[in-house]
């Protein structure tokens, strides 16, 4: 009976998680890491116990020791675990091992979920190996048990976030150089998180965080922070699964729905905090975050497919009403661009509505930052749409989709530098006296010279209108082409081949 239940539980386990755990148990890396970690903790405890008679006088011994133990735990969990899982996934991607999983019943989401579960399992193992030592610090005074458990919980969430980020960075196939750059980027991030979490842990322990656990003043910001951490983790998870999905699959809907969820959750949370704190800075922070998020989404959409393959078409709804939201959500450059632009407009609308209906005096808000960010965002949209047109006009239809992003970045670099160099070299203006008009192509000018805001905003609005008009026929064609398989088969206009990625 018990065996039957265990078997059934075993069947429910994610195959990737089972495989990764077996690999970890049979491999030497984990064993060595665990042994070294236990030894380091023993040494820390030994030194702590020997010196406790000095620090014990002011009841700090336990807290100091706990800080060191947490540092050791974070070093192992933030530097080694993400590296192990990231490098393993990266090599699997490069060797095409993941591809074989896509001819099984497993989805890209269950692949990434399995990796995450295995990483969480090993993190839990390391945390549980550390638990007896950190609990012992309670006996040395200076720290209470709730604080200890709170710090462990917070660090666990951060470690899982770091592992999820490492998995995301590892999801993209690429050569040695690309993998190396991503590894260094990840390592930099891990060191940043390590230093941040060490100082946060120390500050929280020093402030006697354990005594505040019963108050709403603690839980309200804590839940908000945890909520945002979980949302970030979820976003990395969804993006990772999307990155490993086959190019022919309809990859976009989950990402876009998740972005919509982030938008909704963050806007509600921001509104609640704004009503509580009466601080317009919160609204502004939300606006800036959302504009950055959807500008990135816009840039990513540029690299999406411009024609719909059979696999995608077979999922397009036959019902014309349902086809409207599907256009915005399904994979495709036009849908992605429309979705991002729509979300930017929605964000701005929500921001101005909140300002308009705010029960608090509006004179408290007289910041141009939102206009500066909006202008910068418009610059990105204009460069992106221009790149889209350039690619369509000057490059073969079967050229890589990611080329649009490359063109956009090249145009951005050219627009920012060439007019400036022209003014300096040809018109011989001194560098510090070049008229503002020569900086019009540079999105950063709105942050450097605030006085250019009006001019750049007008310029980007005109540019956006013109480029949108020029791309109009392409958008209309894309909307017309967005048809299910049966309708597309009878439409002689739809015959363009699927491009490769």
């Amino acid at each position: 009976m018990a065996v039957g239940v265990l078997d059934r539980l075993g069947d429910m386990a994610n195959p990737i998680a089972v495989k990764e755990m077996r690999q970890a148990v049979k491999g030497r890396i984990l064993t060595w890491m665990l042994v070294c970690f236990l030894m380091v903790q023993l040494v820390i405890m030994g030194i702590g116990m020997l010196t406790s008679e000095y620090s014990g006088a002011d009841y700090q011994g336990g807290r100091t020791l706990l800080s060191f133990l947490l540092l050791a735990l974070l070093v192992v969990c933030l530097l080694f675990l993400p590296a192990i899982f990231g490098l393993r996934l990266s090599s699997e991607r490069t060797e095409g091992r993941i591809d074989l999983l896509f001819i099984t019943d497993m989805s890209p989401y269950s692949v990434i979920w399995g990796k995450t579960l295995a990483a969480m399992g090993l993190t839990l193992l390391l945390f549980s190996a550390s638990m007896p030592f950190v609990t012992l610090t309670y006996l040395l005074r200076g720290v209470d048990l709730p604080s200890i458990f709170l710090m462990m919980g917070l660090n666990f969430v951060v470690v899982v976030l770091a592992i999820q980020a490492a998995l995301f960075l590892a999801c993209f196939p690429g050569g040695l150089i690309s993998r190396g750059i991503r590894f260094l980027f990840g390592l930099g991030g891990a060191f940043f998180l390590l230093s941040m979490m060490t100082s946060v842990s120390f500050a929280m322990l020093s402030s006697g965080i354990g005594s505040m656990l019963g108050t709403w003043d603690f839980w309200a910001p804590a839940l908000t922070v945890i909520g945002f951490l979980l949302l970030g983790m979820g976003l990395l998870f969804v993006l990772s699964a999307t990155a490993i999905s086959p190019a022919s699959a309809n990859r976009a809907p989950v990402v876009r729905l998740y972005l919509l969820l982030i938008w909704l959750c963050s806007s509600v949370c921001c509104l609640l905090w704004f009503l509580d704190m009466r601080d317009y800075g919160l609204l502004l922070a939300w606006l800036i975050c959302m504009l950055i998020l959807f500008s990135l989404c816009f840039m990513a959409s540029l690299a999406e497919r411009q024609s719909y393959g059979v696999r995608l078409r077979s999922k397009i709804p036959r019902n014309r009403l349902l086809r409207i939201p599907a256009f915005f959500l399904y994979s495709g450059a036009a849908g992605g661009i429309s979705f991002s632009a729509g979300m930017i407009a929605l964000t701005l609308g929500a921001f101005y509505l909140a300002l308009f209906f705010s029960p608090y005096p509006r004179w408290a808000f007289n910041d141009d930052v939102h206009l500066q960010v909006l202008t910068c965002c418009l610059y990105f949209i204009c460069y992106g749409l221009t790149a889209l047109m350039v690619r369509r006009l000057f490059f073969p239809p079967l050229s890589s989709n990611s080329m649009t992003v490359t063109i956009a970045l090249l145009l951005l670099a050219a627009g920012s530098l060439i007019p400036f160099l022209f003014a300096w070299v040809v018109f011989r203006y001194p560098v510090d006296r070049i008229p503002d008009i020569w900086y019009l192509g540079n999105p950063l000018i709105v942050f450097i010279e605030k006085r250019t805001l009006e001019m750049t905003l007008t310029f980007t609005q005109i540019w956006a209108a013109v480029i949108l008009g020029l791309n109009g026929p392409w958008f209309i064609r894309q909307i017309r082409n967005f048809k299910p398989l049966e309708e597309a088969a009878h439409d002689p206009a739809i015959s363009q081949p699927v491009e490769t990625e």
Partner: protein, 309 residues
């Protein structure tokens, strides 16, 4: 099981990797997929295994489109890539168990399936060995076992014999024959044409992404009869017979395989008959005149030019 590829196309930027190819085969057949390097064999196989999307065209497995219903189609396909990816710290049994889980095979049945597949591919004795420590031949066997784990009616094998020693090749050949007897449709690509000739009853020839010939080996050989090959034995020294043969117009090549003389004759059976008449007319005491089957290698060399797509 009927497999049909219909007007399959796959373009990579400006390269036509697969250019409008169509073919069909069914259960119990072992079909050789032959073509020079870069001809588009692997691309076609990956499309058939639902791993890639074609630019145009489709593949139907028992009428199910791999394009429209990839989830259903991939349950019918076992794909064996040209090399087994490296997995560190994973034993053969764990590896097969992992894929059985990935195909949703449950508890007791999973154990039975894994044990059964290991027994069939002769891996039981080494099931606790780590994959990264295996020889190429063993890895190919593990790869075949993985492709069979969900008992698919169709197998796609990409260069399964590449890099194998003679013993491993013979074992693989026997395994494939056993699978064909189980009524599986098998598509197998290989560069070792003599191997393919021994196990395949049909072949598909492609070059530069285009289909050159498809059908049974006899049919294909019949389509390209510009030469026929015969083995001639006579009661005279082979050297003497060879000299006489080279005097006959239409004999393009002769060889001495050991017993008798092998001759390539320009033309069909009529021309072959004329050669025999000529020999008899000269008083050559012919004791055996046997037409030989044209091999896959000959057909391959005849119809391909070695161009890349």
């Amino acid at each position: 099981m009927l497999v049909r590829a219909v007007n399959l196309k796959k373009y990579f930027k400006t390269t036509k990797a697969v250019d409008d190819i169509s073919f069909a085969f069914s259960s119990g057949q072992i079909v050789g997929f032959v073509g020079p390097n870069g001809a588009g064999k692997t691309t076609t196989m990956r499309i058939m295994a639902t791993m890639d999307e074609p630019t145009d065209g489709d593949v139907f497995l028992n009428g199910i489109s791999v394009q429209q219903y990839p989830e259903q189609a991939r349950r019918m396909v076992g794909f064996m890539p040209d090399s087994l990816p490296e997995y560190r710290d994973v034993t053969i049994e764990d590896y097969l168990d992992f894929f059985a889980r990935a195909f949703g095979i449950r508890c007791n049945r999973r154990h039975q399936v894994v044990q059964g597949i290991m027994a069939f591919t002769n891996l039981t004795g080494i099931c606790t060995k780590y994959i990264n420590t295996l020889s190429k031949g063993m890895k190919q066997r593990v790869s075949l076992a993985r492709a069979l784990i969900h008992d698919p009616p169709m197998l796609i094998l990409d260069e399964p014999a590449a890099g194998l020693d003679p013993r491993a090749r013979i074992e693989l050949r026997e395994l494939l024959k056993a699978l064909a007897e189980q009524k599986k449709a098998i598509l197998v690509s290989s560069h070792i044409l003599s191997e393919l000739a021994e196990i395949c009853d049909s072949a598909i020839f492609i070059e530069k992404g285009r289909l050159l010939r498809a059908g049974s080996l006899d049919e294909i050989a019949g389509q390209d009869v510009v030469r026929s090959r015969v083995l001639i034995r006579a009661l005279c020294p082979d050297r003497e017979l060879q000299v006489k043969l080279l005097q006959i117009p239409g004999i393009c090549q002769t060889r001495l395989p050991g017993k008798g003389v092998e001759a390539d004759i320009e033309g069909d059976e009529k021309d072959s008959c004329a050669v025999l008449s000529q020999l008899v007319g000269w008083g050559v005491p012919v004791v055996e005149y046997k037409p030989l089957k044209v091999g896959l290698e000959d057909i391959f060399m005849n119809i391909t030019k070695g161009e890349l797509s």
